[in-house]
Structures are given as structure tokens and as C-alpha cells.
Amino acid sequence: MERIFTMPEAMKPEQTLYCPGCGHGIIHRLVAELVDEFGIRDRTIGIAPVGCSVFADKYWNFDVISAAHGRAPAVATGMKRGRPDSFVICYQGDGDLAAIGTAETIHAANRGEHFVTVFVNNAIYGMTGGQMAPTTLVGQRSMTCQLGRDPAIMGYPIRVCELLKDLPGVAFMARGSVDSPKNVLKTKKYLKKAYSNVLEGKGYSFVEIVSTCPTNWGMTPVKALEWLRENMLEHYELGVFRDCDAEA
């Protein structure tokens, strides 16, 4: 009998401790599948950010470093510059990347650092129990915007791709989602392009992934997917924002 579905080698045979319906597990797997597909497991270094994915090392079967909250792009820069033959995956949540680590993100992109950023946008601070994120939607409720996000007081949800796409250091930038098998596959295509760009030395490659946090959204996994589709995708348009190859 032919085996058509297995655990990627770049994934440890562990059950993740993420909540049911959480997008992190799917995204971890995409990251790992591509490490295998490119055959780069022995030189890959993943960054576990501060957020629910802080224990990504328990699931990824390659080298992992855990960075301080928001500092992953700086740590990635140090690793890649210190060891240019490594393949660095900078995995970050929305609080990590777009709040506390905004400066590190913009400047790594602007320098055109040669690593892949995987940006998991679940519009909330998952790990600390559901506080407002920079990407929390207008009107969305959270532990620290209990009446709903009011832009007059709390500002607007940041669209990171739109913010960064025009920096000349960026080689590839796209936004995918994990709300459906179709979008998961599309997201994988974006990631694949990001990996190959970095492997070919084209520069900074960034994939934002609109994801779910059923627990802190206070929804069932199925309802969370619906909510993502109905609310997040309107504000966070999917697609490619920058592709140096297409431009060339």
C-alpha cells in the first residue's frame, strides 16, 4: 500500500497543545512541510516568539531559538549574518511583530535581511488571555477593549503588508489565510515562494497569515472560521503585495 500522508520529518511526532481550532498548528505544519520539501532541515533555524507559539521547538524538528517579545527580527538578523549558510524562519504573532517589535520588523525589512518572516495575525494576544492586538478589528471585543475597539481611543487595526510592501528591501510579501483548505494551500504557495526567494538570495520575504484564536474570541472552532471569513478578510485583503520577480 502506498503511504500518501505522513508527518513531515521537520515535525516532531508530538500532539500540539494548541487549543482546538487554533491556526498555529496548521501554520507550524506548513512551515515544516516546506523545510522538508526544500531539504534544508539541517541548516534551518526557527524562531519561537513570545506568544502562544513560544514552544514551537516542541513541534519543529530543527534548531529553534526563543527570542524576547518582539525581538525575533533582530535575533534572526544576528543569526543569518553570523551564519550566512543558515536558513532562518522568523515566526511571530501580531502583538510580537506589529506592537512591541514594530521597529525591529520595519528595519529588518528595510535592510532586506535574508530570512523568511511568518506573521500569524489572529487579531488578539492569545497567550496572555485575549487582550487587544494592533490588528484587533474596529468594534472587536477583547479583554482590554471590552466595549469593542474604538479607533478614536485605540487607533485602527494595522495592515502590516500594506505598511511594509514599498520598502525596497522587501523581495516578497503576501497575505494568506487558514480559513479553508483552499486558502491553506494558497498560503503554502506563498510560503514556498518566500522560502525559495530567501534560498536564492533575493531578500526579505514575508507572509502574513490571517488565523484564528477561538479561545480568546470566545467561539467554537467552526464559528471562528466563519468569523474570520466574514470580518477579518474584509480588512485584511488576501493576495500578493510585492513580488520582485513579477516586477522584473
Binding site: I45, D63, V64, I65, A68, R71, V75, I106, H107
Partner: protein
Amino acid sequence: MSERVLMKGNEAIGEAAVQAGCQCYFGYPITPQNELTAYMSKRMLEEGRVFIQSESEIAAINMCFGAAAVGVRTMTSSSGPGISLKQEGISYVAGAELPLFFVNVMRGGPGLGNIAPSQADYFQCTKGGGHGDYRVIVYAPSDVQEQYDYTMLGFDLADRYRIPVLLATDGILGQMMEPLVLKKYKDPGDLPSKEAWRLGDPATKEPIWITSVRLGEGELEEHNFKLQKKYEEIAEKEVRFEEISLDDADIVMVAYGTSARVARSAMEMARAEGIKAGLLRPITLWPFPEKRLREIADKVDNMLAVEMSLGQMWEDVRLAVCGACRVHLHGRTAGGVPEETAIVDQIRKIMNSKGDEIIRNF
């Protein structure tokens, strides 16, 4: 033969780092250490190594964290306000047990303070600085040659113990020019290999995890006890100090860095008028030469801490001597540098005082 040149302290540190094989320098401009960042921007690129002027000190220290994790020698440098920003990263480096060499060319604080020479970051340098239960080895050079030498040694110790090593200097030492022997770097030959733990190395068989997160029951305490053992070993083996004219001394000054240079001339002035003064100069601020100070305290009635801060080192001297002698304080701050005559005046006062009286200059 090693070459003899005239060089600024900040540049001597940079050259020593280059000679010691520093592969990656990350820094952000701040006075009075700007000459060091500028020097590295040229020298590192000349050598085909990595130099980044980072977007902030926070980014710089985290770039160091990454470079250290892939096993290359790395450093950063700054002054008070920037070192404060780096403390988060230094704590992570300490927790993850990575080697790091960093420099604080101290200026006046608190706050933005001023850009004048100072030793006001003594507490921050020696008592951790960032959060958590950890230690940092601290060298306090007192001339350009020592800034060069202890930079080289600093890289070795960082690798030997997988620990952050700090060169604590100040605006005077960083910016002054002195003759310098450009010694060649000599690998001690017995430094532990990084192969077993460095990231991104295709030769390692099992995936490696570098972290400072330890959430399991008792896991962090166990780790911190292990760190403590290492710190005890360092305290045993790595303490350094210089003793000047202690044999017949009636009063012993304790001073490091720039303050020690002044204290030394004050000592000579005091001796010229018949007061037998001596000087103990800590070269490591952590580990502090506490054992030696305790021994000396049994032989003299008075010690005088001379520092460019208001009693920060004085606390450590008092802790070390444990009440065995009186410990007085000569402290200047925020760019004030101790003056020989003022120190000698205070020494006279101390020698004429009785009982438990503690004499301070302010």
C-alpha cells in the same frame, strides 16, 4: 615584536575585538563611545566581517543574541541610556548561557544625564542590571592598554563560561590617547568547543533549542542553581585586582578605573607628607576582591572608597570588610572627577578622627 601605537581607548577596544576574532559587531550611536562604533564600521568591513548600525540598542543586543547562538564571537557597546535598553537582552543571553562581550563607556546619569565621564552605572554593571538571578563578569580597566587587554580576555572568558562579559569604562578612558602595545591575540587553546550547542550547523545530529524559558515545575530553579555553581567557580578563579603599597599602609584606598588613577597620585602625595596610604584597585568589579579586602581590613583601621558615583562601590567595600575597619567615602558624580588634593585633605581628616566616625566628602 608587537607594534607600539598611540590610540584612543574606544578604538583600542575595537582593535582588540577585531584581533580577538569578533565576527559581528552591532551598535547604536551614543556619546562617549561613538569612536568605537565608528571604528568598527570601518574595521569590520575591511575584514569582511559583520557590522550593523542597528535601529536601537534593543535591536543591537538581540542581534548579538542571534549571532552568539550560531556560535560566532559577537559584541556591542554603548553608554548608560543604551545599556539600560540592552538589559532585557543581556538577561536573555545570561539565561540562555550564550557568550557575549559588551562595553559600557559610562557617562553621567540618571536619565539622559550628561555626556561627562562617570562610574554611576556601578550598580547596574555589577548587580545584574536586567531581570532575574544572574551575574555578568565585569572588567574595569584603568588605561588604554588595559582596555585593549581586557577586551581580548573578555572574549575568552565569555566563551569559557558562556556568560556575558562587560568592559566597564568611562568617558575619560574611552576618549583619551595613550601609547598602546598592539599585542597579537593568542587563543588560550583550551576554550570549550561550540559545536555541541550552536544553531544552524548541519553537522549536529539532533535539533538544538536555545532558550531562557523554563516553565516546568522546578525547572528554572534547577537551572539557576546550575548558573550559581558557575558563578561560584568564576568568583573563585577570575577575581583580579592590583595592590599598590599595601605592606606598610595605615589607610587603604579602594578605587577602580579613572578613580584609581587619581587615587594613585593622591596616595603618592599623602606618602610625601608622611601618611602611609595604599591602594587596592579592583580590576574585576564582579567578582569583587572581597576576600582580599577582608584580610586587609584586619590590618588597617581605615579604608577610603574613591569613586565617580555616590557610594555604589562603597557598599561593596563595606560588605566585604564586614565591620572590621572603618570605610569612608570620597564620591564625585555626573562628570565630577576626584581631585588628588581633595582626597589627601580627606585622608588627613580621617587620620585625625576617632571612634566610629565615617567621613564623606559631601
